[in-house]
């Protein structure tokens, strides 16, 4: 599986701070490394969004640095702090990513499922769930998430393009050799 491009991750964190309302409206992003915009923020009593939570930011930064075990500890702490944090689809998606990169597919699937249960339109979680299914050899389920992304992306989106590439690569790698018996 590909690495999380650090430049895109940095942009995702910056985007979360700058354009959170738009990101919430689109159901969060992903496509390059995890949750994308909107995660780590809460709605204040006056209806405004808080600044990005420091613990959330730390967890994402640890993923960016490849420190997945630390990121898991940090983000598990973040989602355990309150029911609202537990319902942060971006944080759940990042947790899934960190677990997947740590080789723990059980927990990765669990957190991708949580992200999608919170927000069935979460593009990043659909992409990563599809990639996790490819890791288990389940091409049919991976393609279901590709179809879900096709419906969600009215215009071309990186999550769809990335998963489409991964599915094509998987099929090429698992295609019967021509002329083989």
């Amino acid at each position: 599986m590909r690495q999380a491009p650090s430049v895109r991750l940095s942009c995702a964190i910056l985007a979360a701070a700058l354009v959170a309302p738009a990101a919430f409206a689109s159901g969060g992003g992903g496509g390059s490394g995890g949750g994308g915009g909107g995660g780590g923020m809460t709605t204040l009593p006056d209806g405004k969004l808080s600044a990005v939570d420091p613990e959330y930011s730390q967890g994402v930064s640890e993923i960016e640095a490849g420190r997945f075990a630390q990121a898991i500890t940090t983000l598990e702490s973040y989602v355990a702090r309150s029911p609202e944090h537990a319902r942060d689809a971006d944080a759940q998606n990042w947790l899934g990513y960190a677990y997947r990169r740590s080789g723990n597919l059980d927990a990765a699937f669990l957190h991708y499922d949580k992200a999608l249960a919170i927000n069935p339109r979460h593009r990043g979680a659909h992409e990563y769930m599809g990639e996790a299914y490819l890791m288990t050899g389940n091409i049919a389920q991976a393609e279901e998430h590709l179809r879900a992304l096709d419906k969600l992306c009215f215009t071309p989106c990186t999550e769809y393009s990335q998963l489409k590439r991964e599915v094509a690569s998987w099929k090429a790698a698992h295609a019967p050799a021509v002329g083989s018996r």
């Binding site: 597919l105 059980d106 699937f109 669990l110 499922d113 999608l116 069935p120 389920q141």
Partner: protein, 344 residues
């Protein structure tokens, strides 16, 4: 430009509509029938025979196993068919594990309240039903030995098991698999439908604060649909109570076959072609419908489908079916953005 009488006609129609709606829940029997569809949510259900039930460690173990690709050597997960983002159903016509099944995947939401499990009601305990797909060669087949080997061989899973059942998984494979079923059941017990716009409307009616008129999130169409549902359409005869299911088997007008062409007549020894009444909370997210997935949309599903004529009156018109669909969509906090106008 609208003709001058158009506004008067609209206003008159509005007055008639409001006069009709204002009495919703006041007609003899109607109020009681509507109130019987709540309140929601009820108190959590616990299984006193299951040591994992209601226990955080047991629920967490069941949750991990439910989502794991390792429980079956096929790599299929419980959550592959009971997908959380699809209301714990799968969106397919019939289930697809390692082979095509014969029946639509039912949602797991509110399963803790069932007395019978599966479309045919073949099991009477949640833990036994949780293990059924592992034994079905078409779903996610595995063996007692494979499940027990997984639990014994994985240090993290073994420790979690010990925390729930008082010791690490032993050498009795059947016992270990049984305990896995208990843990899965403990998790599934926690899957409950959230409150929906209907519940707010119904609770206002119960508190006599509501006047039976439409409200935010519960449209005039939904209100008309509710009155049909609880009244002359007869839906509530089977889809009764706060979970919208009487938890009983009823003979169906829908006759289906499995992938090999054999008739699917339900569970042997019960009423022929009888299937369990599914609950309707969150139903907008779990298309297609019926035990064989033959109703692609809610508009199709609200056509008569019970074999008992008393519980399934004559065909409704498209406008009435649209109203019923509007009501059913109000049983979800955020129904999908689908077309809701039914065609004749």
């Amino acid at each position: 430009m609208r003709p001058p009488w158009a506004a008067a006609r609209t206003a008159a129609a509005g007055v008639l509509l409001l006069a009709s709606l204002a009495r919703a829940g006041d007609a003899p029997g109607e109020r009681a029938a509507i109130l019987a569809l709540g309140p929601w949510p009820p108190a959590p259900v616990r299984d006193s025979a299951n040591p994992a039930s209601g226990q955080p460690a047991g629920i967490a173990l069941g949750e991990l196993l439910f989502h794991s690709p390792r429980l079956s050597p096929t790599g299929l997960r419980c959550a592959s068919c009971h997908e959380p983002w699809r209301g714990f159903a799968d969106g397919r016509v019939v289930a697809q594990g390692v082979a095509i099944g014969a029946r639509n995947t039912p949602s797991l939401l509110d399963a803790a309240r069932h007395r019978h499990y599966g479309w045919d009601g073949a099991h009477d305990s949640l833990w036994a039903q949780a293990l059924r797909p592992l034994a079905d060669p078409r779903e996610m087949p595995t063996t007692e030995a494979q499940v027990a080997t997984l639990m014994r061989g994985d240090a993290a899973l073994s420790a979690r098991y010990a925390a729930v059942f008082g010791g690490p998984p032993g050498t009795d494979d059947a016992r270990v698999e049984h305990d896995v079923g208990l843990a899965l059941a403990a998790y599934v017990e926690t899957l409950a439908s959230p409150r929906a716009p209907f519940d707010d409307w119904r609770d206002r009616l119960a508190a006599s604060a509501g006047d039976g008129a439409p409200s935010a999130g519960f449209s005039a169409a939904a209100l008309r649909g509710l009155r049909l549902f609880a009244g002359r359409a007869g839906c509530a005869a089977c889809h009764s109570g706060p979970a919208f299911s009487d938890d009983a088997l009823h003979a169906s007008r829908v006759h289906s076959q499995d992938a090999d062409g054999h008739p699917d007549a339900g569970h042997p020894g019960t009423l022929p072609n009888a299937f369990r009444t599914p609950g309707l909370r969150g139903v907008a997210a779990t298309a297609p419908y019926m035990h064989d997935g033959s109703a692609a949309s809610l508009c199709d599903a609200v056509r008569p489908h019970a074999a008992d004529a008393d519980a399934s009156p004559s065909e409704l018109g498209a406008a009435q079916r649209s109203d019923l669909v509007a009501f059913l969509r109000a049983l979800s906090p955020q129904p999908p953005d689908d077309e809701v106008a039914c065609r004749p």
